[in-house]
């Protein structure tokens, strides 16, 4: 826990100062998780605020402070899931914007010492996001929580309220699709390199 149980308890009872303390303790971690889950830096704060608004209105349902962290992660996953679903609806137009944004960003860093490193990171982000685009949002979030955020199956069971075996099956299927997409991408790259060279 990043804050004392008593602070959570006070926030639960309606103490706004205590709630501010809880937000300040967790916001960096939550914003980090959201930014990796949704892959869009410009919307991270918006989704993060939505998580804390939901926390504010549901704190009174928290039975024990011990389950606070899994619960906060569940709110985070739900908010990210809602965001990704909304995004899918307007995906095509946003993809065009995104490419433009990336070009502008790439232009901005071009010529600087960090250019190569930023390009490498951008390439990784693009690749992972395109791979994650091949699986449903729900599986994407599960996979990210497990593989990128490093949660154990036991922890995820507590967060999602779903049996470990069910999670294993879903994760296995999601991973299979990612592997397939990854191998396809590798073949395309190899073919592109051969035809180019």
């Amino acid at each position: 826990m990043l804050v004392e149980f008593e602070i959570v308890e006070q926030a639960r009872k309606g103490d706004h100062a205590a709630f501010n303390q809880v937000v300040q303790a967790y916001r960096k971690r939550i914003l980090g998780t959201i930014s990796r889950l949704i892959g869009r830096p410009e919307d991270v704060e918006d989704v993060g605020q939505e998580v804390f608004v939901r926390l504010f209105y549901s704190l009174d349902q928290l039975r024990t402070p011990e389950v606070f962290e899994p619960w906060l992660h569940r709110l985070t996953m739900n908010a990210a899931y809602d965001y990704l679903r909304r995004q899918r609806r307007r995906n095509e137009s946003r993809m065009a914007d995104l490419s433009e944004e990336r070009v502008i960003m790439a232009d901005a860093v071009a010529g600087s010492a960090q250019h190569a490193e930023e390009r490498r990171r951008g390439g990784i982000r693009d690749l992972v996001e395109s791979l994650l685009g091949t699986i449903p949002e729900q599986d994407r979030i599960l996979l990210m929580m497990k593989e990128v955020e490093g949660f154990s199956l036991k922890e995820m069971e507590g967060i999602c309220g779903v049996k470990e075996n069910v999670l294993k099956v879903r994760l296995f299927r999601a991973r299979q699709r990612i592997v397939k997409a990854y191998e396809q991408r590798r073949v395309e790259c190899a073919t592109g390199a051969q035809s180019g060279g």
């Binding site: 937000v23 971690r29 914003l31 980090g32 892959g39 704060e45 608004v53 504010f56 992972v128």
Partner: protein
């Protein structure tokens, strides 16, 4: 051997694990902007005022509905006096009367049929 490795080539599994680790490193935890907290409280208060507005609205609707039900109940419960003969008879009385008329009509028809047969 793990469940995952039974179905995936080891090379791909390792590459994916590395890719996810690199992705994790490429997006560090960001710092919140200076107006994060003020904007958060604005959103909380906006939702609070919307919720309380909705609550007041639904309370008003409930009151109006209860009042309308009461008025309707009174209207139906109070016996009304009318000079129209239609309202002075009960349903059963009207039914019996119309049955009597229909029976008389039927008797005439039956009689006419018999006479025709003769």
């Amino acid at each position: 051997m793990s469940h995952r490795e039974d179905f995936e080539p080891r090379e791909t599994t390792d590459e994916l694990a590395e890719l996810f680790a690199a992705y994790r490193q490429s997006i560090p935890d960001p710092e919140a902007s200076a107006d994060f907290m003020p904007r958060l409280w604005e959103r909380i208060e906006a939702r609070q005022s919307f919720a309380s507005g909705f609550k007041h609205f639904s309370q008003r609707i409930m009151t109006v509905a209860a009042l309308a039900s009461f008025v309707m109940g009174v209207f139906l419960a109070v016996p009304r006096h009318s000079t129209s003969p239609y309202y002075t008879y009960s349903y059963m009385e009207l039914l019996a009367a119309s049955h009597g008329q229909e029976s008389a009509g039927e008797a005439e028809i039956v009689e006419a049929v018999h006479e025709g047969a003769r």
